[in-house]
């Protein structure tokens, strides 16, 4: 029998959900959602489960990851229950459930904790620079090493275990054990979605958003690879240097346009919902990933510029800023922030295909 948690709706509201308990249970949201399908109907079911507080079923549901928050359901909901926002909050809540460290939830719910953690990183960088007596060469050398090891560690200690937890909660615990071979057969799905986020294409009218998203993912990954693997900032290789500048330029332009479009879309959405109470509740932490990615690109660009202009030795601060941004990104934002949604989405598609393949088989 399903266990019901009466306090669940209160808990969920801390993750941003709004007035979903006013839901009529009419199904309009599901019927108008352009991503819901005959096999996978949402968001009404999740609104219902959330209102009742059937945690276990929510934990095992992959549906929240199939929603790309186009907002259509919310603007047409007859009760202004904001089902789109509920789906977003469920993603935040699930992220916290998957995370074994428990930090994701904490950082979502509390801005002071988030700010504190960020400041801690600033302090650490300054202390470290002090310890190295502000030696540019040594600090840059260490910074480069940090990039590689930190990313590997975060992946092994946090992201991987969290994905395993997600797998356990959504595939194993509900008893859907697919045979071993299915894992290989479906792997293609994982990579396809990881890189393209193809599913957003299903949302009406946002081809452009999807395309920009795609360019951004590829662009930032390339930039990251260039700094981490090719050592863009320290290299003498003219080809790498020029390519790095080029990629940065593209990435900056697309980011600016992307953010502009998002703000416009949000305004549009708010105008559509005739009741003003339906304004979007973006959490600061939702935007951090994008902003920090941008800052990282920008500071990396500046550092390289300073190197090329040969003024880096007198301007160590620019590198320290870059390092701080990098450390914050790698240790806080990547493992605990919205970025993980991107990862979980891809895995959700993967798990989903495992389960459906399995169902077909049985």
């Amino acid at each position: 029998m399903a266990k019901i948690d009466r306090k669940f709706s209160k808990e969920l509201k801390k993750y941003g959900a709004f007035d979903f308990t006013s839901c009529y249970n009419c199904g309009n949201c599901t019927a108008v959602c352009s991503l819901a399908t005959k096999d996978e109907a949402f968001p009404r079911e999740l609104v219902r489960l959330s209102a009742l507080g059937v945690k276990e079923e929510i934990e095992s549901s992959l549906k929240p990851w199939s929603c790309y928050y186009c907002g259509e359901c919310s603007s047409l909901c007859p009760q202004s229950a904001d089902p789109g926002e509920l789906m977003m909050s469920l993603r935040r809540w699930l992220t916290a459930r998957y995370d074994w460290t428990g930090l994701s939830g904490l950082l979502y719910k509390s801005v002071p904790v988030l700010v504190g953690a960020m400041l801690l990183m600033v302090a650490a960088v300054i202390l470290f620079a002090n310890y190295k007596q502000f030696n540019v060469k040594e600090i840059m050398h260490f910074g480069h090493l940090f990039e590689m090891y930190a990313i590997a560690t975060v992946f092994l200690l946090i992201l991987l275990p969290n994905i395993l937890r997600m797998w356990y909660l959504t595939v194993i615990r509900p008893g859907k054990n697919p045979p071993f071979t299915k894992y290989f057969k479906s792997a293609g799905v994982l990579f396809l979605h990881m890189f393209t986020q193809k599913r957003t294409l299903g949302c009406d009218d946002n081809q452009r958003r999807w395309f920009e998203h795609f360019i951004l993912v590829i662009g930032y990954l390339t930039l990251l690879m260039m700094t981490v693997l090719l050592g863009w900032m320290g290299t003498e290789n003219i080809f790498v240097i020029v390519a790095g500048y080029l990629v940065s330029a593209i990435v900056f332009i697309v980011t600016a346009d992307f953010v502009k479009e998002r703000i416009k879309a949000k305004k549009e959405l708010n105008r559509h919902s005739r009741l003003k109470k339906l304004s979007r509740h973006s959490r600061p932490s939702d935007w951090l990933f994008v902003i920090w990615l941008f800052l990282m690109g920008l500071t990396a660009f500046a550092v390289r510029l300073f190197v090329d202009l040969d003024i880096i030795n007198n301007n160590l601060w620019i590198y320290l800023i870059h390092l701080t941004v990098l450390v914050q990104w790698a240790l806080i934002i990547v493992p605990f922030g919205k970025w993980t949604h991107f990862m979980y989405r891809s895995f959700s598609m993967y798990f989903q295909s495992l389960i459906t393949e399995n169902n077909k088989g049985s």
Binding site: Y24, N25, C26, G27, N28, T30, A31, V32, A36, T37, K38, A41, R44, E45, S75, L76, C77, P78, Q79, S80, S273, R274, L275
Partner: protein, 433 residues
């Protein structure tokens, strides 16, 4: 030059000649008070006179409205002004209101018109017939509808080409294009506001395709198709005149919907849809009828039994609000919804769809009151100052509200409300005299 205004005296003025206004007027008149009904339309009777049958008794609506209407129009104590607008109502003192009224010209001498319809036959101009909710056409010289009261012709001057054919055709010579609007000053002691309700405009819900897909109708259009004075004498779908055999009802179209600005329940649409479904089962025994609902609200006496009866007759009820309607083959329509009982998205094909449009407030009476403010509630219905103890009382002493002007209600409740307004007005008149 100041136009001469005609001065008249009454005990009470009823604004709006629907079933509620008529009932209030009749009660007051039977108590010996002189009453004037000011109706903006060409006929009294309001929405009820257009209906087919009424739930839950399935009495013929025209057959109960017509005797009532003729009783009202023949009553010695009642004066009826159709095609008239109340321009202002000013409270002059403790027991005295003064209203300014304009009676628009009909271009037909009312006393002489016999209702022979010769002008109608002669007129070459055809426009949409608003009294048949645009299902068919009418002429520019026309009698509004067969059971209109008064049943006399009128000229739709906006569409008339002044060809003169009607003038020649009229055997009693009553067409008169020189008629001018007449202004009246009316002194009264009390006012009853019975301006009724407006229907939700389904064009606002674009995803339901009303206006775009011909076979998407409103419930009022279906009432006309089912009424004894119906235009086609059977049920036809507009796109190709086919007799439909798979009809869907979309409940809460524009009611209980925050996103459409009307969050409340209209109270009548579940019931009238169930009624229409039963009538359709009678008219088209082979047809499948499906009602898509959020909740079925059958709250009144005998209503739930009426609902059960519809189920027993084979009407299908599905819980799930229709998300969108798209065009299928040959004029058919596809309705997308989530079947809430199974949690599955479904697409159903129907050859005709009826939108059970909701009730909206008609707040036209508010600006008429110049010296005191006629307050409304947040959804623009006339505010009842004391809805439980004296339901007809408004924010102005001596002004009472009757029927759906104060909120959505069905006919039995409108009649009760009209009775309450009349008795409260009577008590008031007794007190001030």
């Amino acid at each position: 030059m100041e136009k001469e205004k005609i001065n008249l005296f009454f005990d009470a003025m009823v604004i709006g000649g629907g079933i509620a206004g008529g009932e209030s007027a009749l009660n007051l008149a039977n108590n010996g008070y002189k009453v004037i009904i000011v109706e903006k339309d060409l006929s009294i009777g309001g929405k009820m006179i257009m209906l087919s049958k009424v739930f839950p008794t399935l009495d013929c609506s025209a057959c109960i409205t017509t005797p009532k209407v003729s009783e009202i129009s023949r009553h010695n104590n009642i004066t009826i002004f159709t095609e008239s607008d109340v321009n202002s109502v000013v409270k002059m003192g403790e027991r005295h209101f003064r209203a300014e009224i304009t009676r628009r010209p009909r271009y037909v001498v009312a006393e002489d018109c016999t209702g022979c319809q010769k002008c109608e036959e002669a007129c070459p101009v055809i426009v949409k017939d608003q009294y048949q909710y645009n299902l068919i056409g009418r002429k520019a010289a026309f009698i509004p509808f067969s059971i209109a009261s008064p049943k006399i012709a009128a000229i739709d001057i906006e569409n008339c080409t002044l060809c003169g054919a009607c003038e020649k055709a009229c055997p009693s010579n009553c067409i008169d294009f020189t008629q001018k609007a007449l202004d009246y000053v009316i002194d009264i002691k009390s006012v009853v506001v019975a301006t009724g309700f407006k229907l939700f405009d389904p064009l606002k819900i674009e995803r339901y395709g009303f206006g775009k897909f011909k076979n998407v109708l409103t419930s009022m259009q279906m009432e006309r198709q089912l009424a004894p004075t119906r235009p086609f004498n059977t049920i036809l779908r507009p796109s190709d005149g086919k007799v439909p055999d798979k009809i869907a009802y979309v409940l809460c179209a524009g009611s209980r919907d925050d996103s459409e600005g009307n969050p409340i329940c209209s109270q009548i649409c579940c019931m009238y849809s169930i009624k229409q479904a039963q009538l359709l089962m009678g008219a088209l025994p082979m047809a499948d009828i499906t009602i898509y609902y959020i909740d079925i609200r059958a709250f009144g006496k005998g209503y739930d039994e009426f609902y059960e009866q519809a189920k027993g007759m084979g009407v299908s009820f599905i819980k799930g609000k229709i998300g969108k309607i798209t065009k299928g083959e040959r004029g058919d329509l596809t309705l997308r919804y989530e079947d809430v009982s199974t949690g599955k998205i479904k697409e159903a094909r129907h050859d005709m769809v009826v939108l059970s449009v909701g009730v909206l407030a008609n707040d036209e009476a508010v600006p008429m009151f110049r010296s005191n403010t006629l307050l409304t509630d947040p959804l623009n219905y006339i505010r009842q100052e004391d809805p439980i103890i004296s339901p007809a009382k408004t924010s102005i002493e001596g002004v009472f509200v009757s029927g759906t002007a104060s909120g959505p209600m069905d006919i039995p409740d409108s009649i009760l409300s009209a009775g309450a307004a009349a008795s409260q007005a009577t008590a008031y008149l007794k007190r001030i005299n």
